[in-house]
């Protein structure tokens, strides 16, 4: 098991490197791009700005820029051995003239230094830390909702195969897969927020000075976004669970359990469910990127202060360091998510050979 995990981790390295190369290339193709944004100052003439960009190294060959972006400008030393020299960066006065150099301070992507946000004027990593909690809360609750409703529906559908319940739940599952997340969110806001006035239409907490006072404040704000994000999961999980339960129900041990006189409920929800849940572990990997994508839309609609809305706003504001950081982060989380779901799959099912 340990060797398997280690090998999978090593296999993930080229993928993660690929993600950094890809996002770096896309961003360096951006018009204006980080170079223009960093040296933008209306008081400095355009020609001077070009000279600044040249000195800052934005005209260096792309691979050089990539390595610098990856490793940073601060030297990397391990046990006194310098692995990466870093470099000195030029310092400019207010007119854009070079007045000397100072040792580089940026740690590079490898040291989780994503630079400063052009919009918030704060280190990107601080923004990410600040917003991550809200996204985890939303995503986790949505997944729990998906599991707690989707799994029982799937099991009941399978044991009552061909019944009205089975057919209607299958139709609903296809229907909800066809509903765009953002429109579902809009309709939920319209019906429950606007018409019925029963639930808040957005934000994580009431927009008052006091913020979230009671638990009810928190929960009521969570309901609509969680349903928006989780409905698709109910649909997907119920379909998967139905298929996998049908597979299990045709096996001998189920017939044995029934022959021994166990009540149906026990056979279905204890004996069958345990084995039917095994293939569901493989969905957890793909669940993470799709939750992140869903979070972008859901958080934007509901003004949810999480990573998704931060990403969307960064794109609109052309906040390049932030965009790079969220893309990289989402990629790394995805890779780790797949890894985790593979390991989980192997752990809960001893029949899986670690290939």
């Amino acid at each position: 098991m340990g060797r398997y995990v280690l090998r999978r981790l090593i296999q993930a390295i080229p993928t993660i490197l690929g993600i950094t190369v890809l996002s770096f290339l896309i961003m360096s193709a951006a018009p204006g791009g980080p170079a223009a944004a960093l040296t933008f100052d209306p008081k400095v003439p355009a020609k001077q700005r070009e000279a600044m960009q040249e000195k800052l190294g934005f005209n260096d060959p792309l691979p050089v820029q990539y390595v610098r972006w990856l490793l940073g400008e601060k030297p990397i030393k391990v046990l006194g051995v310098t692995l990466w020299g870093g470099r000195d960066v030029p310092v400019f006065d207010r007119q854009g003239n070079e007045i000397g150099t100072k040792p580089g301070t940026s740690g590079g992507i490898i040291r989780l230094d994503f630079g400063r946000s052009l919009f918030y004027k704060r280190p990107v990593i601080d923004m990410l830390k600040q917003r991550a909690g809200a996204t985890v809360q939303l995503g986790f609750t949505a997944l729990v909702l998906g599991f707690s409703i989707g799994i029982p529906i799937g099991i009941l559908s399978a044991v009552r195969r061909g019944s009205l319940f089975d057919n209607s739940s299958r139709v609903l599952a296809v229907l909800f897969n066809a509903v765009p997340v953002f429109w579902l969110g809009l309709m939920l806001i319209l019906v429950f927020g606007k018409w019925l006035g029963a639930l808040p239409m957005g934000n994580q907490c009431p927009l008052t000075i006091k913020g979230c006072v009671t638990l009810e404040d928190r929960v009521s704000h969570l309901v609509l976004p969680v349903f928006t994000l989780g409905t698709g999961w109910i649909a997907v999980l119920s379909r998967y669970m139905r298929t996998s339960t049908l597979d299990v129900l045709s096996q001998d041990y189920i017939r044995t359990a029934q022959a021994k006189g166990l009540p149906n409920s026990k056979v279905w929800f204890v004996h069958a469910t345990r084995n039917a849940l095994i293939p569901i572990a493989t969905i957890l990997g793909p669940a993470i990127p799709s939750l992140l994508s869903g979070a972008v839309i859901t958080e934007t609609i509901f003004s949810w202060p999480g990573l998704g809305r931060l990403s969307f706003e960064a794109v609109i504001q052309q906040d390049y360091p932030m965009v790079m950081a969220v893309v990289l982060l989402s990629g790394v989380i995805t890779v780790l998510g797949y890894l985790l779901s593979d390991i989980l799959y192997a752990l809960i099912d001893p029949r899986i050979r670690l290939g």
């Binding site: 509903v179 934007t300 995805t334």
Partner: protein, 331 residues
Amino acid sequence: MTTETKTTPVPQTTVTPEESTSAVLSLSEERSGASESLYTLALRRLRRDYLTLVAIAIVLLLALLSLLAPVITDALNVSYTRTDSAAFLSIGSPGHILGTDDLGRDELARLLYAGRVSLTIAFSAAIGSLAIGVTVGVIAGYYQGGPLGFIDDAIMWFVTTLNSIPTLFLLLIVASVLRAQQSALGSSVVVLILILTFLGWTGTMRLVRGETLARRELEYTIAARAMGAGSWRIMFVHILPNVFSIIVVTLAIDVGSLILVESALSYLGLGVRPPTPSWGNMLNNAQSFFDRGPHLVFLPGFLIVLTVLCLYIIGDGMRDAFDPQASKKVA
């Protein structure tokens, strides 16, 4: 290409001599014992699947309505760009069957033109990514493990990387980067088709690669090689037609998913840009119409759901028709 002759007469088929040309016959070659081609069989199963037929009819109707948008709007004397100062946000007023939007533009006309845009983008991108996915998939699968295996390794590395970034994040950065360069590339519609095409082929590619891996070891491939066929001929004349039916099945579902992606991007303001309407960007500031124009929130979304639902049903029906074995396992 093939000179196969049918020995047994085919009962109850409507295959005309023109239709049963080499392409169809070459597919039936491998189905030894079956005197009907895969496509004829699939068509016959499809003809009994009423749900799928209804879904096909609805999609065709929507496509036809969108295609005839100029004719219909002319006949109703409405326009998708002209503003009617007498009617803002009206819900059904004389002259505007489905009412008007916040600028007094006819909602029906806008829905029809938006359908044009959304369907064009989804179908073009689906066919484009299908072409790329099939080509790359056959090449990668064919060379896998051989002396030219590095081709497959490189492709797979790229695809794994691309798939590791959540779709929407990838679309967001690419759309935002390309947005500023739009004038050079033409309209936002073309840009969106290109983005969705170049980011959407990986699923098809994986599928085709897997099928190619299996088929390159089959007897007919070995026979072709023994007869001196080159790699490219084996890939694109012998293997490709045989994996094609698997791909055709996924096309409807791909188009459906692409409509969802396009509408989400346009809703976020990174897809089709106004004044060109698309079902997604018509919902762009839907939240501000909650009070006075709920029809503006409901109608575009309803059309998206209807279209995507029908396409998904068609996709399921196609799978059943082409591969009844597989669907029995799932159902």
